[in-house]
Symmetry: C2
Subunit: 311 residues, 2 copies
């Protein structure tokens, strides 16, 4: 898990957005900070395996952000710089940090994003399709060759506007990631376990439902796992928590080289751990100053807070 | 944990309501079924230790309900039968089973409830003050002599109408039980961990926050524990889940005879297990047909669904 061992792990391909986020919470604010699902996911993955991203930014994208990603070992040969402005999201959170309020979404160059995989990316063994148009997720799947594990994320917008395409993606991935509201929305099941079971019927071998502060659950045909949220007293900005979770999960699996039930469970805990760091500060600030020792310590703390003996 | 060993455990005193509940959910309905916090808590406790209750019912209270409680070994010498009608609650749940909708609350004889402890109850080593007027909870505390462990529950109504009295109770108990919304309401803290820590400052050594389907968390000065909700696909009626949780927790602690961190953790899992059975059917039906083997099996399943290895 130390940075030096990274070379041993298989690479993780992340396809998604790189954005400039302006975010305000009761605990502070940032303007045009590095954001986007691919940024969070790739940096989180970088603590376990070498990430590579496919994304697009505009000509206004600060070189400092590029350098910061590169410093985390993110392969940026799939980051296209297009004519125009970078994707921008402006939003805020009130005291209920579970609820993001969007002020504006400027797609800009992201509106014409068409993820073309560089030739050397096509054999990526681990593929994470972050939350983008499911049509584009399918387009990526058409380009990758025999990946070992593919995971996808989605969001309410696509479930509403293109549910058939979302299900088409789910039929072609190994791991489906979504939050509890999305699982309920996609399946029409109020009960979360029933909803997760229904998602399995769409095709993925594993469904992982993210529940924010309540942690995450994993369901497969023959296993169920429940992971707690790490108990944080200070959450400054929840933006990127889900993407961080997914990135760390994929990175850890790539590092393991196996994706059995035990590996998946540990990967989910790694996801929770990394996400708990992300929300401690705005943008990717906390991830950029995170150390492998801190990860190991918090992982161990989750062991301590969940353990109990047999009757 | 088998019924036969029960005699070994210290008795658990439960003070609270015994009611007739009329409940409708999307999965069925019951009319004037056995309900009330003291009913659920005492029957849940009975699987681990001998319970005794202090409560009041009217002259219309069905003898069959009395017999059912007695059959579970509940000492009913503190159950007063007053002139008038029994406390009745009528309510319903829609598909969001986390939200109870009250149609009517008829306090009836419960309006004049004044919990007088029979002499032989005053030395009860384990005391559970279910959700009643905090003034009455204090009145019970004035009557018990050197209890080993006292736990209390409360609800939004008392937090709004008598917050000082609620805090006075909290200052005198060992274990404070409440749900997440109540913890936030009582402390004004949006962050659940911060809220729980604030409750500790009021006096109890341990605070246990119930989170419904998301399980429960326990916080003390030197420990934090998080228990998952048992993954149920069919919840028919959530009424009484919290009271069942508390009763089983107290019963298990009484059975252990110790209340260290390890015992508390196991007690919380027992609470989750029993609550998961309660919600599978209306009223106390599922508890009345529950077996110690089923409890042991579900406890073990919670071990399986929470375990993961070190990194």
């Amino acid at each position: 898990m130390s940075d030096e061992d990274e070379g041993k792990a298989a690479p993780v391909l992340v396809v998604g957005s790189v954005a400039l986020d302006s975010v305000r919470t009761p605990f502070g604010e940032v303007a045009e900070a590095l954001g986007g699902a691919a940024s969070y996911a790739s940096v989180a993955a970088s603590f376990f395996a070498p990430p590579r991203i496919v994304a697009v930014v505009g000509q206004d994208f600060p070189q400092g952000h590029v350098a910061a990603l590169a410093e985390r070992g993110v392969d940026l040969s799939g980051l296209r710089r297009s004519t125009g402005r970078t994707f921008r999201w402006t939003g805020y959170y009130e005291y209920d940090l579970n609820q993001a309020h969007t002020v504006s979404t400027e797609l800009n160059v992201f509106a014409n994003f068409r993820p073309e995989l560089p030739e050397n990316y096509r054999h990526s063994p681990y593929v994470f399709l972050a939350n983008i148009d499911p049509v584009l997720q399918l387009y990526v799947l058409d380009q990758v060759r025999r990946p070992r594990l593919v995971a996808c994320d989605t969001m309410n917008y696509w479930i509403e506007s293109a549910p058939d395409k979302v299900r088409e993606v789910l039929a072609r991935v190994d791991v489906a990631l979504m939050n509890d509201a999305e699982a309920r929305q996609l399946t029409g099941e109020a009960n979360l376990i029933a909803a997760a079971r229904r998602v399995l019927e769409y095709g993925p071998g594993v469904v992982i439902v993210k529940k924010g502060e309540h942690g995450a659950v994993m369901l497969s045909a023959d296993s169920y796992f429940t992971a707690p949220g790490y108990p944080l007293e200070e959450v400054r900005d929840p933006t990127g928590a889900g993407d961080t979770f997914a990135g760390a999960l994929m990175g850890y699996l790539a590092r393991c080289g196996e994706c059995g039930d035990g590996e998946l469970r540990r990967a989910i805990i790694c996801g929770s751990v990394l996400a708990s760091f992300t929300v401690e500060d705005f943008s990717l600030r906390r991830l950029f100053r995170l150390t492998p020792e801190e990860i190991a310590e918090r992982y161990h703390e989750i062991i301590r807070i969940t353990r109990f003996d047999a009757l």
